[in-house]
Symmetry: C2
Subunit: 752 residues, 2 copies
């Protein structure tokens, strides 16, 4: 654990710049607007160790992948979101002296991410040889004009006059740290000094993946006055230099406006004109006015989704940081995009879509954002169905296999034990449809596009099982369960359970689907009978003596020992043990059997949940950022309040406290829902199966109270838990909610 920012309910703020923690600081101060995002790199540049990172949603490259020996069915390429041209550059020179916080003398450093609106502010006093100047940068990526990045620089000489030179740059000469052989992914297409633009294209690839072309345009202004400056270009770069005299104690402001357009939206030849139009729109309003419009949209989000925690500012900061980062990554604006595990904050996981979306993001988004946002996540999968059919075909199987990692629906990760075997993601995609439908009551997806997804998934499972003559049961061999600390196991209980659930849900929903969809899908009676046979004869490993579901066929043969027996200096085991030792160990990375009890919560008795939780949780090392939240929800349900709170703390401030010592690479965006899940589904016990919203709240003893707001079927409901529990319907028609097992009728108060 390393806490480098101060505790504050709404701010992520630091007054220190520790060169050893520059990358960590950059991750934590990343901002995004769903369209693009960037790490907390410094505008003026920084010559010390740092990770330059700017990412454009959906702009990626299919990198060559190398495995030991190629085998049929392996993906052709490894997709990665590439580091995009950097557009924040504003190199500063004071009386000829370059400002560089890695080498310059400075004081009064303050760095602040304001969670209200995703505004990053940084100020410091530069103590040059001949001048002392206070610099303040503010930047945000507009939620109103998604293509726009705005940077405001304020410079004030604190002693004597000074001459400030600002070299504002667009820089396409960027690389990825994770490139295999120091490849460059961008080919410059030209610079236009008069227009202030550079254009670049991703390099060709042999896989038929379209190349992306981006155009970046910058413009400097002071108030309403544009400052063209002296423009120079080199290949892939453009620099506008302006010189500003600084009189003592007179703040001078300079604003850098940037427009970024990509061929995802605008054809390359039309990009210059499109960018010019957007720039005109952007510069039609002042920085302050643009910020106000941007902040107004944020205010709406917070009004629907804020979580308030009384008596624990660290927890308060944690949950708001997570919500802000999630919303900066994805708010449903572009159905072609999804929620990358690191969002726009780092290179790892390549900015691609993982099962995280359905397993961890949807369960929060369905309640914390308007239904259209979650619906867009579902639509994304439907729109990628051709890719999913392709993936199954690659394995010689029928139906649709949604990918473990993807940009376009086609699997682009290159480990067979993941790609071929971590099949349970295919169930999560189906379960998200169930969750959305059950929560919102909106059946329009499941009855149309969603049914195409469900049938594709069911056809996959029906072909992927095999019938064991010896056991007289259907089995699923060769899978990797959610516990990625084992590979290639047989009859993973979670996978078998969820596969059968998929068939069951599809069979149940199919007759209600749109007639035209039913006709097109043409699921014959024989096929339905086959699915029913699989449901009826699926093999589930269980141990009657222990009264548990068994993680997979031979799990109980392991050298079973609790995770507490691992010496502290060997934790996390993934940083200390060989992969062989981890695979053979009994230690579980994240909820596996328990993930099933979490998803299909209403199908198991409390005793079943208790026995399994008590058996598996002690074996669990929670080394996935996705682990603690699910366990917290179950612990809360089972009355293990202390355990629930302990696990909440692991998830809610995972990045703020750098709990897994890897946040320098980027934030764990998709696991940031964990704090919300732990509070809303855990502490407050929210459930919504069988068309009945229910709560069963408790108040962690460390807190004085907490409250949150959710959207539910056209309503906004506020739940406040303190010494008592108060539910308030803020908007929408009346509703009866179960609270601790008792019905409670809610109506909008006349006083509201």
């Amino acid at each position: 654990m390393k806490r480098i920012f101060e505790i504050d309910p709404w701010l992520v703020q630091s007054h220190q710049l520790n060169p050893n923690e520059k990358r960590l600081q950059e991750s934590m101060t990343a901002i995004g607007n769903g369209y693009m995002g960037l790490r907390g790199n410094f505008e003026e540049g920084y010559s010390g160790d740092h990770l330059q990172g700017t990412y454009l949603g959906g702009v990626w490259f299919p990198d060559k992948t190398v495995v030991g020996w190629w085998k049929n069915g392996y993906p052709d390429y490894f997709g990665k979101a590439i580091n995009a041209p950097s557009f924040i550059g504003m190199a500063l020179t004071v009386n000829g002296e370059r400002v560089d916080l890695a080498t310059s003398t400075y004081r009064d450093f303050t760095l602040t991410l304001d969670l209200h609106q995703g505004l990053l502010t940084r100020s410091f006093v530069f103590e040059g040889k001949q001048a002392t100047v206070r610099f303040t940068f503010k930047r945000f990526l507009s939620n109103v004009i998604k293509e726009a990045a705005l940077v405001q620089l304020t410079a004030e000489s604190l002693a004597g006059p000074a001459e400030l030179t600002v070299a504002a740059q667009l820089d396409g000469n960027v690389t990825n740290e994770d490139s295999n052989y120091d490849e460059r992914f961008w080919a410059p297409q030209g610079e236009n000094a008069a227009a202030g633009t550079i254009q670049l294209q991703t390099k060709p690839n042999p896989f038929g993946v379209p190349q992306f072309t981006v155009l970046l345009k910058q413009s400097l202004r002071q108030g309403a006055t544009l400052l063209p400056g002296t423009v120079t270009t080199s290949t892939g770069q453009l620099t506008s230099t302006v010189t500003l005299p600084l009189a003592p104690n007179v703040p001078v402001q300079l604003e850098k406006d940037v427009i970024v357009v990509t061929s995802r939206d605008v054809a390359p030849e039309a990009q210059a004109e499109a960018a010019a139009g957007l720039m005109t729109q952007l510069q039609g309003q002042s920085f302050a006015a643009q910020l106000a419009a941007h902040t107004a949209l944020w205010a709406k989000r917070w009004a629907q989704s804020d979580v308030v925690i009384e008596g624990d500012d660290a927890a308060q900061q944690g949950i708001r940081f997570n919500l802000a980062q999630l919303f900066m990554t994805y708010y449903g604006d572009d159905k072609r995009l999804n929620v990358g595990p690191k969002g726009f904050t780092g290179e790892k996981y390549g900015g691609a879509t993982y099962w995280d979306t359905e397993a961890y993001v949807v369960p929060m988004y369905v309640a914390a954002t308007p239904p259209a946002v979650t619906r867009a996540l579902l639509q994304y999968r439907h729109d990628q169905l051709p890719g999913a059919y392709h993936n199954a075909q690659q394995q010689g199987l029928k139906g649709a296999l949604f990918p473990m990692v993807t940009f376009n629906g086609i699997e682009c990760h290159n480990e067979w034990e993941i790609t071929f075997e971590e099949l349970h993601r295919n169930a999560a995609v189906a379960f998200a449809i169930y969750q959305y439908t059950a929560y919102t009551g909106d059946e329009s997806y499941v009855n149309h596009d969603g049914m195409e997804v469900l049938v594709g998934i069911s056809r996959f499972w029906a072909d992927r099982v095999h019938f064991s003559k010896r056991a007289g049961k259907y089995m699923i061999h060769g899978v990797t369960g959610p516990n990625e600390y084992e590979n290639n196991v047989n009859n993973n209980w979670y996978t078998n359970t969820m596969a059968a659930w998929c068939l069951e849900y599809t069979l149940a929903r199919l007759p209600k689907a749109d007639a035209a969809i039913q006709a097109r899908l043409a699921v014959s009676g024989a096929e339905q009978q086959q699915w029913q046979d699989i449901i009826d004869c699926m093999y589930y490993p269980e141990d009657n003596k222990l009264g548990i579901f068994v993680q997979h066929d031979t799990f109980l043969d392991k050298d079973l020992r609790p995770a507490s027996s691992i010496p502290a200096d060997q934790r996390p085991i993934n940083q200390h043990w060989s992969w062989d030792r981890i695979l053979r160990s009994p230690f579980i990375k994240q909820a596996d059997v328990l993930q099933g009890l979490y998803f299909l919560n209403d199908r198991f008795t409390r005793e079943q949940k208790e026995r399994n939780f008590d058996f598996y949780e002690p074996l669990t090392v929670h080394e996935s950022s996705l682990s603690a939240s699910i366990h917290a929800v179950l612990a809360a349900e089972l009355g293990k309040q202390d355990k629930a709170v302990e696990l909440y703390q692991r998830t809610a401030r995972l990045d703020l406290d750098n709990y897994n010592n890897d946040t320098a690479d980027g934030l764990h965006i998709t696991s940031m829902t964990g704090g919300w899940l732990a509070i809303v589904q855990g502490f407050a016990g929210m459930r919504y199966d069988h068309d009945q919203l229910r709560f069963d709240p408790f108040l962690p003893k460390q807190w004085q109270g907490y409250q949150f707001r959710i959207n539910y079927r056209g309503r906004v409901i506020q739940v406040a838990v303190g010494k008592t529990v108060a539910l308030t319907l803020l908007a929408g028609p009346p509703l009866t909610v179960m609270v601790a097992g008792q019905p409670q009728h809610l109506e909008v108060s006349a006083h509201a």
Copy 2:
């Protein structure tokens, strides 16, 4: 199956050059001398599709390896034998017209590999615009001067005078086809026109693996006259050009002598002088005299090892081709080298050492070559013990883990399911010690260096097992057995069996070992007791109902179907099925349980062998070149003569008939012992456990007879099987041999 060479008992000959089969032809006409080797590339160059390949024993490069996500314990690099500078180049121009069989007009093409002595001869009549010239190339790599390659060109104008230009070249500008990113592995260090040399060094690497420097020297002569020619150089290249007038019907000869020295033997600064000395030695004798000396050494080998088959020339050619290629790859001259799966014939498998050596090469070499040759293979492992300890430590385990793939003892393959899990190779290394000792009666290895190997291996197994409290047994989880069509299985019967055997053999041999070795190894009584406990309580999966040993824990849950149920157009399955489908299928790549019955042959009853053979062989697709031979031996033992012969045919002409459709990449050198094993251990039923040499021969009904010679404890024994069986002691002291269960006393005949 594709047969492109004619049937002949001693020649591999073709009168056709099919451009579509150039690579296949090149593989089949590769030659080597243990020190170096090369594919059947053409001296004059060939502009059509081909695979340029020259390989120097032990000269390799640690290539960067890329996997999806790095995990602790993964090897740092992927080792590969790199394509070495080409030294055969003799570009031909006739009256200004370039000779290139891809584009020129020619007739009377003949290509012949003479198996007596590894001599490659090629002739053709070039029909140029102005001249018709017959060219004949002969080349061999000397067994007398290992650094020497000799090429003899004969040119004869068949019509009218012609001017022939020969540009003899050394070419260091070579690449590997299998490089990940088109890397070049060689850095030229300089050319010396006067000396006729080029020197190159392998590129630096970040892994601490030493770089290799090689120097190549060429010299042209006509009879005793040296022809310096006109020498030109460019970076990494040197060319000597001579012009020869050709009078009609007067053959003209030109010889190219090459010396290749490497920093494995000679420091870079001393290489020029060393090469000059070797060139003087080489050119001290004519081409014919050098060839005669070389051939004399081959004659000795054949006198000890030839196998004669009467009535089946195809089979005869197959076994001689295999023996010749094996001996060209390895004859024990350099203890630092081993037998790469493709020898010097292709890039695949990187020229590294695999378990093939102990499992397939040693069982033949121990009888077919002098004991020192096999002993050198054992010594190789002992000399790499530090690497084996390193490999175990990488996995967090005690003892020594011999690598799956290596040049220097350190694992250099990059698939965890192989590297971490295919542990049975560690038993094969131990078993080779047993085989050598049991066959030769020479205990000097097992009592000294060999015991260090055995104890290292046993300490590994003792740490790698775990005790399953539930079963009350020791288990080995997470392995890949010899059947590489499954990965990461638990309690592979073969692995468990061989692991326990290692402990047992080590315990049995330990008290007899050299006292100093025992003292140094310090195996305590407690440790021995622990090993005994593992032996006593090892878990072996068995099925009593079927009466078989079970391949691994859940094998019988598979959808068991015979391999004959696979449609013909889907064979081999590794070229038609996805890896996922293969892994989950019941189909077996090569002997797994049966490999154990083969190795520990004397420990199992005939009924056990029969039940297991009858269960597993029908599931086996024999898609490893190593499979058929083991099955042939067992089938012969079980009286399944037709099956044995069928399997023999698959192994004996695997490459000559391109049975697996992959010989274009190179020959399957290590599996070339299979034909010999099938004949000697299979048809002739040779066994040698318990210090008793035994035979139990039968004659395949397709043959009129077969005979072979073996070395046995200082003797040469000839076994001739026709309508009767005749054993002849050709050299050495008298011996009693069991033949078909009856003792037969052998003495060297006075008439001999």
